[in-house]
Subunit: 155 residues, 2 copies
Amino acid sequence: MQDSLTIRKANRSDLPDIIQLVRELAVYEKAPEEVWVTLEDYEDGFESVFDALVAEWNGRIVGMALYYLTFSTWKGKMLHLEDFIVTESHRGKGIGKQLFDEVISQARRLNTKLMRWQVLDWNEPAIAFYNKYDVAFDTDWWNVKMLFTGPPAQS
Amino acid sequence: MQDSLTIRKANRSDLPDIIQLVRELAVYEKAPEEVWVTLEDYEDGFESVFDALVAEWNGRIVGMALYYLTFSTWKGKMLHLEDFIVTESHRGKGIGKQLFDEVISQARRLNTKLMRWQVLDWNEPAIAFYNKYDVAFDTDWWNVKMLFTGPPAQS
């Protein structure tokens, strides 16, 4: 049987698989304890705040791109790519490139002026991947966050 | 006559004043040539993608905070503060603090889990201002952007 890859818009029923990928990426980013989110939080935000694309390899979700519309005060309507993940076991098959290209297509369909995302400064494979595209890196901004919630109680 | 300060939600008719403040901040951030946006872009995004608060001093708009709802894959629904500006001639009157506090109130009213924004690493007055609050700085992320548009033709 030939392997099959499908890139498609996520459905509500894909949210548990999406959260699983988020947890995997958080481990890679050395911050798994920072993931406090629940399925209910995803159900609350899905299609009201964010959308996602998923990559299915032989019918199984192995990648996802989660994004939302935002606004650049300098450029106008913008697509922000919040997370972009291919599960470790399925890297090297070109899945990331097809998924990322579909995010770009989606940004263009939504008539955005630009696409923006973030990358950790030590994540060399990701930086090398993005550098294959016509992109610009801004290295002099810090993120600032104020939390209104605490970590979940330990079970 | 006593000075009066009003913090209120922006109306569509405030957009030209908001753009003026954005241009002023872009000069301070050493990138005025990066502002390509038009009033039409703001009208397109207002209330469909972003909202704003304005600060009126004696009836004149002297500050604004532009924000939108986003989604943290680790925490859930989030308010992103894209720009926060008080015009230079009106600093030192506590306007920024009142405006910023109202953004925090708005984030809580919208049931977000956190508020996020960015600051330039050399902008010491802004960093000092944010440090008066219970915030965390992330200094190891780079912004990446891909543009789908070019600078406007010179007139």
